[in-house]
């Protein structure tokens, strides 16, 4: 760059000759030079600003464009991750308490057709009708040859054999879509607990599997939640025990010509249900449709153990006796006047047979005297009885994890009169379900703390609120044991397991009011082993008749009790309970003989 001098000699000389100040020229030139410098600096700064602006613009444009693309693109699974993906898209399995599968998924296929790419619609329709007996050939052909149709659903679910057969037709217009199918490998076992599943929203390539009833419905959100990573749902049901219970109960039901039966086996301290059987049952893989007419209780879908609200009869006497003992109104040896019939207005309370003029409180329960229990109930009255039964959970629906549970609200008299108090004390006038009864009996025998029934495996059970004192519970255990050793449930004796319990035979109410003659619900509420009860078992039979004797016997002692005893005999060893049998004492070591 050529530097222009600030004091050019020619101009200085010229200025001097004219008598002007030459410094003015220097100042003038200095000013011009500064202006030129300033202009250059401005242009450069402007250029930099432009570049900066362009860069910001490009950066924001890139981010914006990328966001737009991401928003518009189809969702895809993240395939490239460093760790194993913890997201599971399939419905979680359901396991029993020992980890055996109760419900799992199987990939099958659905079948659909695209008529416009079909080559031989007639042959395809004919062969499809040959494979699936429920499809109509003419209707299929009409659908396949309809020019307006481009898509026809044919079957929701195919078995692998059917898939192969359809494949063998070789028709390019018949297409398969993958379908996850819910499989219950154990068939009818625990059907009422599991409920069933069906398809929700359906597309060609996938369909939602949603729970319809039972735990599948209640835990639908949990089972479908991808964030669980496919962690299974573990129930408190034990598959083996459930199978043994169902087998014995079904045999008993058939032998006694009962219309239905229910059994609940519950852990006495935690309220975990180990087996819950309701007969007749159904196959959850092929869930029947609900009845549209008639009595819903006749449907195999009806869960007698949870939904079946019955007047349970004499099994309720335990609660009246327990309350009177707990409140210190009586002791086990207090003598009660049981001369009958007991008249109340136009109502008479009688006993099954005459037990004499008086019995001790203990004998009232062991011999099952209606009059005696009614007299005991009169001691504490309606208000306290209601409050006591409420604490046992007998007056509201259980919070069992089944869709049916909240609908099963016990039915009780609106006006809880003194007469109601007396009838409820021996189990008439208040309807509740076998599960209610199991929870209440668990509280009676486990030392006196309330339990809430559950179908979930709980890692640790906190004892519930106290209902009766531990001492009362011990008395009740003693009395229930005596019912078996010397009372109405003598057939319940299982050597080694010290079964105790209370029978109950309730007349079946007519839907039109009043009671049926000769139709009963026989119940047996049992616990074992009685010195420290681990399990509570409820067996209920609907209209059983024992015809092995000379005349038909319907009382629980002849029907529900032997069935319950067989269930205990079969399930107790499976529950890892050692029988307490006095063995021949063995002294020292005995050498084996070969």
């Amino acid at each position: 760059m050529t530097r222009t001098p600030l004091r050019p000699l020619a101009r200085i000389l010229h200025a001097r000759s004219h008598g002007e100040n030459p410094d003015a020229i220097e100042r003038e030139n200095l000013r011009l030079r500064h202006e030129a410098l300033r202009d250059r600096a401005r242009i450069r700064a402007e250029g930099r600003l432009l570049v900066l602006a362009a860069m910001f613009f490009l950066a924001f444009a890139a981010i914006g464009g990328r966001m737009g693309l991401e928003a518009a693109s189809d969702p895809a699974e993240p395939r490239v991750t460093a760790f194993e993906a913890d997201i599971s898209t399939s419905r979680a399995d359901i396991l029993d308490r020992r980890g055996r599968v109760l419900a799992t998924n199987l990939v099958t296929h659905s079948l659909y057709a695209q008529p416009h790419v079909m080559i031989e619609p007639e042959r395809a329709a004919r062969e499809l009708a040959g494979i699936f007996s429920d499809l109509d050939e003419d209707r299929l052909l009409r659908q396949f040859t309809d020019p307006g149709r481009r898509f026809v659903w044919i079957k929701r679910r195919l078995s692998p054999e059917q898939t192969q057969k359809v494949h063998d037709i070789g028709e390019p217009g018949l297409l398969f879509g993958p379908r996850q199918m819910r499989l219950y490998p154990n068939g009818r076992l625990a059907a009422h607990v599991l409920g069933g599943a069906g398809f929700g929203r359906e597309g060609v390539s996938a369909a939602e599997v949603i729970g319809i009833a039972g735990v599948e419905r209640v835990f639908d959100d949990y089972l479908r939640d991808p964030a669980n990573g496919g962690a299974p749902l573990q129930l408190s049901i034990d598959l083996t025990v459930q199978a043994a219970t169902a087998e014995v109960l079904e045999a008993g039901m058939r032998m006694l010509n009962a219309r239905g039966a229910a059994a609940v086996l519950m852990e006495a301290h935690s309220g975990e249900i180990v087996a819950l059987v309701s007969l007749p049952d159904f196959d959850p893989n092929d869930r029947p449709l609900p009845l549209t007419e008639g009595d819903a209780a006749d449907s195999p879908l009806f869960n007698r153990a949870v939904q079946g609200l019955y007047e349970l009869g004499s099994v309720f006497k335990t609660f009246a006796v327990a309350q009177a003992l707990d409140e210190g109104l009586v002791s086990a040896d207090t003598v009660i006047d049981i001369r009958g019939p007991l008249r109340w207005g136009r109502f008479r309370i009688t006993d099954f047979r005459n037990y004499g003029p008086r019995l001790t409180v203990e004998q009232v329960l062991v011999r099952s005297s209606n009059i005696g229990t009614a007299r005991i109930a009169q001691m504490f009255g309606a208000e306290r009885q209601r409050e006591f039964l409420g604490r046992l959970g007998l007056l509201q629906a259980t919070d069992l994890e089944l869709t049916e549970a909240p609908t099963a609200r016990p039915q009780m008299p609106a006006n809880w009169s003194e007469l109601s108090t007396m009838t409820i004390s021996y189990g008439h006038g208040l309807s509740s379900s076998p599960v209610h009864l199991a929870a209440a009996y668990a509280a009676m025998v486990n030392g006196g703390t309330a339990v809430s029934p559950t179908l979930l495996r709980r890692p640790r059970a906190e004892p519930g609120p106290r209902v009766i004192s531990a001492e009362t519970s011990a008395h009740i255990r003693d009395m229930l044991r005596q019912v078996v050793t010397s009372g109405t449930a003598s057939l319940a004796e299982v050597p080694g397991y010290a079964v105790g319990g209370k029978t109950g035979t309730a007349d079946k109410p007519r839907s039109t009011g009043g009671y049926y003659e000769g139709k009963v619900i026989a119940n047996f509420a049992a616990a074992f082993p009685m010195d420290d009860p681990k399990y509570v078992l409820i067996v209920a039979l609907d209209e059983p008749v024992d015809t092995t004797g000379t005349e038909p016997r319907r009382t629980a002692g002849w029907t529900a009790v032997p069935v319950a005893a067989e269930i205990v005999r079969r399930t107790a060893p499976l529950l890892d309970l050692r029988p307490q049998i006095a063995r021949r004492p063995v002294s020292g070591a005995v050498p084996a003989r070969y």
Binding site: V80, P185, N186, P591
Partner: protein, 123 residues
Amino acid sequence: MRGLFYVLAAVAVIGLAFWAYRETHQTQRAVAELRQLQREISALREAIDVQRAEWAYLSRPDRLRELVAINFERLQLMPVMPEQFGDVEQVAYPPPVIPAPASPQEAIAGFDPAPSDDSEDLP
């Protein structure tokens, strides 16, 4: 000096570009391999699920009960019953095996409270 700087910068840019290209290529190959493996894993998982379902189906209590009934003559399996529990004391001890002593010395050595290793070397 300045020219050398430009040359070095150009070489560095070319080198980095080559390195970046190679890394990208390797990443893509690894991703492709990963996809393949993941496909295999999911196929195997599905197969395991099917096997589990089949195992559960084949060992369902109904079927086992039938099999036990069919093969009763050979297997003689019965449901577990309370009578089948026993005590440890009921299990008999095996009779002690007492080897006959080869020589009186050995017999004596057997009763030695602390037999030494060289007991057999005794005359």
